[in-house]
Symmetry: C2
Subunit: 313 residues, 2 copies
């Protein structure tokens, strides 16, 4: 499947009444530090606190009436779990979320709070997949993958579409990369709606499967990721990777301290709460700032769900 | 001196090119908790991170050319010190700030960062006043009081003016109260620009001089304040108190845990960084929420300057 310009336009029309059009913020001080002009698309202000709401909403809205009756299912211990639960609730359909038994209570509480039903499994890949399969067989719910799904990718692309609509002359756009849904969607948006805006990703060195895959030209699975950016622990998928390979300019790796410093900068100077996974993009830009001197750069702040009693500073 | 409607209109015209028009944010979840419809005027996004920028700018812009040549001086270890330094810098004039020797390094650094000159003194009232007097005598700088000054009060009132311009049908507006500059300015704005919007203040029980003064009808000085809301430690002044006495509906006191809970709520749900002093207003509303059921209430988030490595959660 190829995601066309028309697909993206229809996606935005489809979901726009169910999501927030998030603001684009700027900071004189961070511009001065970066030597470039930065435009922060604040998906931390999105419903449930992250861009994932866009993809989840788009995927649900494209289900048939019959499919909707059986509900949706996913596996996630992160923002997609909450996003699917809330998006399903807004459409009055049922959402099942398979979560590892060791997932933080606060994340389980958030999914429950949005009306999602949690099915716990042992914290390993095999248990997760078999639990999900059993669930889907039993309930007839439609499985929606957190990122490796074209409708999800389309939805995530709408954040960059709005950013481009607000600022049509960007030289580049930075996003973080985990499973690649946001990055692939952003790359397609830039491809279809700009004249040459380049797309870059920031990735933690401690979870650099996307960088490795990008270098090698084939998917290298994530193994033993170790980073504070807990939304970026997943591997690329066979739907996200080809788009990234074709349309992304580069993937830049950053150290943990650089992620934390960028996070602190955003909190202290912009007075907004951004989760570590979302500050990886700014960290990558600042690390390579010489290459982007005097350019106009969009940065997608992907989410703001952080546990305030476990901050790295 | 009476501050007229015309004074306030001229003040906003005078300063508007030097300050940010800050956004008004809303939160479905906090509305549900409160049982009322809340409109948060986000002065944490103001230049230097607090509403104090408004009053400092207005006071400086009303100096004569000769006065400007000698610069301005104040005593403050908080946001007014930074505000005066930045406002002076933007007008190319000199700012002197008397700060106690035990003021946090981070606050001194912020004043220096904005180009202000710090004069240290012993951490007591007498030393502060004599140091300031010596400074003014030596330099000829104009002393601008952080809150007990009509031009400062006028400037602080412009935050509520903008809020009222955006939402003309508010039943009430809540602010925190320390020295009373923001509260007096807000009360005057509501008096001149609304048909009966009532103004309320939140105050920590551990620093309740304004509540005591309001009850007794005369200024009761602050003694041994003890609260996390470090911007609210000052006493009311002879210029702020009469305005408050005349135009404020009520002052509501809150416990420390209520301040911290409101702070956490704002950070977690609105994804913005607000300092404890600024969350006292929401804490007061939530404490008395039954009285404000189904009303439209403005809340001024006064600032966002917090030390991230010393959070109460």
């Amino acid at each position: 499947m190829i995601i066309t310009k028309q697909n993206l336009l229809e996606t935005h029309q489809r979901i726009k009444n169910y999501i927030h059009r998030t603001p684009v913020l700027t900071s004189h001080l961070i511009n001065e530090m970066a030597g470039s002009e930065l435009f922060f698309k604040c998906e931390n202000f999105q419903k449930m606190g992250a861009f994932k709401m866009r993809g989840a909403t788009n995927a649900i809205l494209q289900l048939s009436k019959t499919e909707k009756e059986f509900g949706v299912a996913t596996h996630s211990s992160g923002n997609f779990a909450q996003a699917l639960a809330l998006a399903a609730k807004l459409q009055n359909i049922k959402a099942y979320v398979v979560m590892p038994s060791n997932a933080p209570e606060i994340k389980k509480a958030a999914v429950c709070g949005y009306g999602g039903e949690i099915i716990e499994c042992e914290p390993n890949l095999q248990a997760r997949e078999s639990t999900l399969n059993d669930l889907v067989n039993k309930t007839g719910a439609v499985f929606l993958h957190p990122y490796n799904h074209y409708h999800v990718i389309q939805g995530q692309g709408t954040a960059a579409m709005e950013l481009i609509e607000d600022h049509s002359d960007l030289d580049g756009i930075f996003t973080p990369v985990g499973g690649g849904g946001l990055l692939a969607g952003t790359a397609l948006a830039a491809h279809h709606f700009t004249k040459g805006t380049k797309v870059f990703a920031g990735e933690p060195i401690g979870a650099d499967d996307a960088w490795q895959s990008f270098q090698k030209g084939e998917i290298i699975p994530q193994t033993n990721p170790n980073t504070i950016a807990d939304g970026l622990l997943t591997s690329l998928g066979d739907k996200t990777f080809p788009i990234i390979k074709e349309h992304v300019q580069d993937i830049l790796r950053v150290e943990e301290e650089e992620i934390i410093a960028a996070m602190r900068l955003i909190w202290e100077r912009m007075k907004i709460v951004a989760e570590p996974s979302s500050t990886v993009a700014l960290a990558a830009l600042l690390k390579e700032k010489e290459k982007f001197k005097n350019q106009k750069i969009g940065i997608i702040i992907s989410g703001g769900n952080v546990q305030l009693d476990k901050l790295p500073f």
